[in-house]
């Protein structure tokens, strides 16, 4: 992997050029005292020193509401697929969120390739950044392996602490992307320093179970009293799913324009913890109890997706802990409960 180095001023100037160019440039900005991903209008608003962004950048690859087809009403032969045309670059993604994108890549393209996801993904450059501050509830190193963010990243930044960033070039696209910047070959000691800085900020929380042991750890715990105990406090509001960088379940709905001349078929984010998620025609709810929905969510995070895709459905960002009002959604707490350690 090629290693470059760029001064902080050089990166700011580079992002300034990009913002004025044809790509949508997405990055973390500060809004009302919180960090959030947004389209940049001014390079100076880009923050790379954030602890954790409110949402992951998932929304720019898998939007909360996305058109799949356009059509004339009641005329299936008029259907046309709708694809995103807008090229974009997301600059400043923590390793956990990149591992989440690697998981989404697999979910949407391992079998039955989803061309709508791919249309966005193909036009998106992903630039990672190793965190410079601890997250409030981060346990990423318990959930991902160090190489997994590199399955999705085109390039990775490491703050060297000396007013410059190391730039790891991961893909040809990443190389091309930084080719117009002032980044130059890294200084002799930069590689060793970058490796130290990558692990300098420690996780705040540690999972009590090794990631690869999670599927077997959860086997046979489907009827554990922890699910009912937590369900008693659950509002089934879906906040844990909404902030999750890996959740990708969706609903499909049709909407007609007020002219009644054309319409769109959309997909919208959905959440397995919501009451109607598993309701079938005729009204039978196959996951009626909140306890069953809470269990399903956790099993999906820590077992089902790991077994199916080889990457976990949880990347240890800790957002669900912050989002959950009764504080029942945090996977490390649930695992501790299951171990009898208390949350």
């Amino acid at each position: 992997m090629e290693l470059l180095q760029i001064s902080k001023k050089g990166l700011l100037d580079f992002v300034g050029t990009l913002v004025a160019g044809p790509l949508d440039i997405i990055g973390v900005v500060q809004k009302d005292g919180r960090f959030a991903y947004d389209k940049l209008d001014d390079a100076r608003s880009l923050r790379l020193d954030f602890d954790e962004a409110l949402y992951s950048p998932k929304q720019f690859l898998f939007p909360p509401k996305e058109a799949l087809l356009s059509y004339a009403p009641k005329d299936p032969a008029s259907s046309e697929p709708v694809y995103s045309e807008k090229p974009q670059a997301i600059i400043g993604i923590h390793p956990g969120d990149l591992a989440a994108i690697a998981m989404l890549d697999k979910a949407f393209t391992k079998v039955n390739i989803d061309a709508h996801y791919c249309a966005r993904r193909e036009k998106t450059i992903l630039v990672g950044i190793y965190p410079t501050k601890p997250g409030a509830y981060r346990f990423t190193s318990s959930m991902i392996k160090p190489q997994e963010p590199y399955l999705a990243a085109d390039a990775f930044l490491v703050d060297l602490g000396n007013d410059s960033y190391a730039v790891e070039i991961v893909t040809d696209r990443g190389k091309e992307f930084f080719s117009t910047s002032t980044a130059t070959a890294a200084e002799a000691d930069a590689k060793a320093k970058a490796e130290r800085m990558k692990t300098a900020v420690k996780d705040t929380v540690a999972l009590s179970v090794k990631r690869d042991d999670l599927p077997s750890f959860l086997d046979g715990k489907e009827h554990h009293p922890v699910w009912e105990a937590r369900a008693a406090k659950c509002f089934s509001c879906g906040s844990c799913v909404t902030v999750c960088p890996t959740c990708y379940c969706f609903d499909v709905l049709d909407e007609l324009d007020l002219s009644f001349e054309y319409g769109l078929r959309f997909r919208t984010w959905d959440a397995c913890v919501l009451d109607p998620f598993a309701v079938c025609a005729g009204g039978h709810n196959f996951r009626k109890k909140p306890a069953d929905r809470i269990r399903h969510r956790l099993y999906r995070k820590q077992k089902f997706l790991l077994e199916k895709l080889g990457l976990a459905g949880c990347v240890g960002c800790g957002r669900c802990k912050k989002a959950c009002v009764p504080d029942i959604a945090f996977p490390p707490d649930i695992d501790n409960d299951l171990l009898g350690k208390g949350a």
């Binding site: 799949l68 087809l69 059509y71 004339a72 009403p73 009641k74 005329d75 299936p76 032969a77 008029s78 259907s79 697929p81 890549d105 979910a107 949407f108 393209t109 039955n112 390739i113 989803d114 061309a115 709508h116 791919c118 966005r120 993904r121 193909e122 036009k123 999705a152 696209r173 489907e222 009827h223 990708y248 379940c249 969706f250 609903d251 499909v252 709905l253 049709d254 007609l256 319409g263 078929r265 997909r267 959905d270 397995c272 998620f277 598993a278 309701v279 079938c280 025609a281 005729g282 009204g283 039978h284 196959f286 996951r287 399903h296 099993y299 999906r300 077992k303 089902f304 997706l305 199916k308």
Partner: protein, 283 residues
């Protein structure tokens, strides 16, 4: 090759083909029969599979195919009016168009079942996908041993394919029995009671060592039927079920149809009992 995730590009999974409604008629107060025709091609389904039927501007719904693939040129469905999509489909007239995606999912393993006796157990609209396999077996009669069909529904007004049921009952070498859960006085001359009340009447005629059971019905039916089949001596590998779930996308993405970690639209809806016995949400 996609430069983002390295995948091979494909057309949209959500694009429907266009089918035309050939004929439709009511079967019960809420179920209608539909025959659809795709332009110049067969649906290409196998018995037990489903397709997503849509009306642009209204929405899309997963519907079981009811005709056997041995019937060429068109395919048949029975659609219960339960929501806005199915209500709109009920309003269609011959010549109207619908969108079709699929066929999707697993199918009744009719090739693997060759040489076996077949015990079909259908409850309510479970008969709809089962009819695809029954007619397939009839059209390939020499491939299968004794065929026994048990069908139960809530009351006589909910019987489906009434003319066909009459024919099945008259066929040589086929045992066909029906029951209704309840009926008004004088309305029904046959068996009254849940479907398991038919089991004592066929127990001696069905050999669990040479037969496979194909079971499709409402969720409550499976538990009792499977208990009966176990007590008869059926092995779990010889009990084949089709499970209903909310198969919204049909392509293993949207998540609604999952049983534990299994996507029913991909790995189902047809399963052997053996393959789902470890899943806590299956039955």
């Amino acid at each position: 090759m996609c430069e983002g995730c390295g995948c091979q590009h494909q057309e949209s999974l959500y694009m429907p083909k266009t089918a035309t409604l050939v004929r439709t008629n009511p079967l019960t107060d809420k179920d209608r029969f539909f025959e659809f025709k795709l332009d110049g091609q067969d649906l290409g389904h196998k018995p037990g599979q489903f397709a997503e039927i849509s009306i642009p501007g209204i929405g899309e719904a997963p519907i079981s195919v009811s005709s056997s693939p041995t019937k060429k040129g068109s395919f048949e469905m029975v659609i219960r009016k339960v929501g806005k999509v199915t209500s709109a489909i009920h309003d269609l007239k011959p010549g109207d168009a619908v969108g079709v995606r699929g066929p999707f999912g697993t199918h009744f393993p009719m090739d693997e079942l060759k040489g076996k006796d077949l015990l079909f157990i259908g409850g309510g609209i479970g008969l709809v996908p089962m009819r695809s396999a029954i007619n397939y077996a009839f059209d390939n009669r020499k491939n299968y041993g004794a065929i026994t069909i048990l069908f139960g529904c809530v009351d006589p007004s909910q019987r489906l394919f009434v003319d066909e049921l009459k024919q099945w009952g008259a066929l040589q070498g086929i045992t066909f029995m029906e029951t209704v859960d309840r009926c008004k006085e004088g309305e029904w001359k046959g068996n009254v009671g849940v479907i398991t009340t038919l089991f004592p009447k066929v127990k001696n005629a069905v050999n669990p060592k040479t037969a496979a059971a194909i079971v499709v019905g409402p969720p409550i039916m499976y538990k009792f039927v499977i208990l009966e089949l176990r007590s008869m001596g059926f092995k779990e590998a010889d009990v084949i079920v089709s499970l209903e779930r909310r198969m919204k996308c049909g392509v293993g993405k949207c998540g609604h149809c999952q049983i534990d970690g299994v996507y029913v639209c991909q790995d189902g809806p047809v399963f052997t009992l053996e393959s789902i016995s470890h899943l806590v949400e299956a039955l």
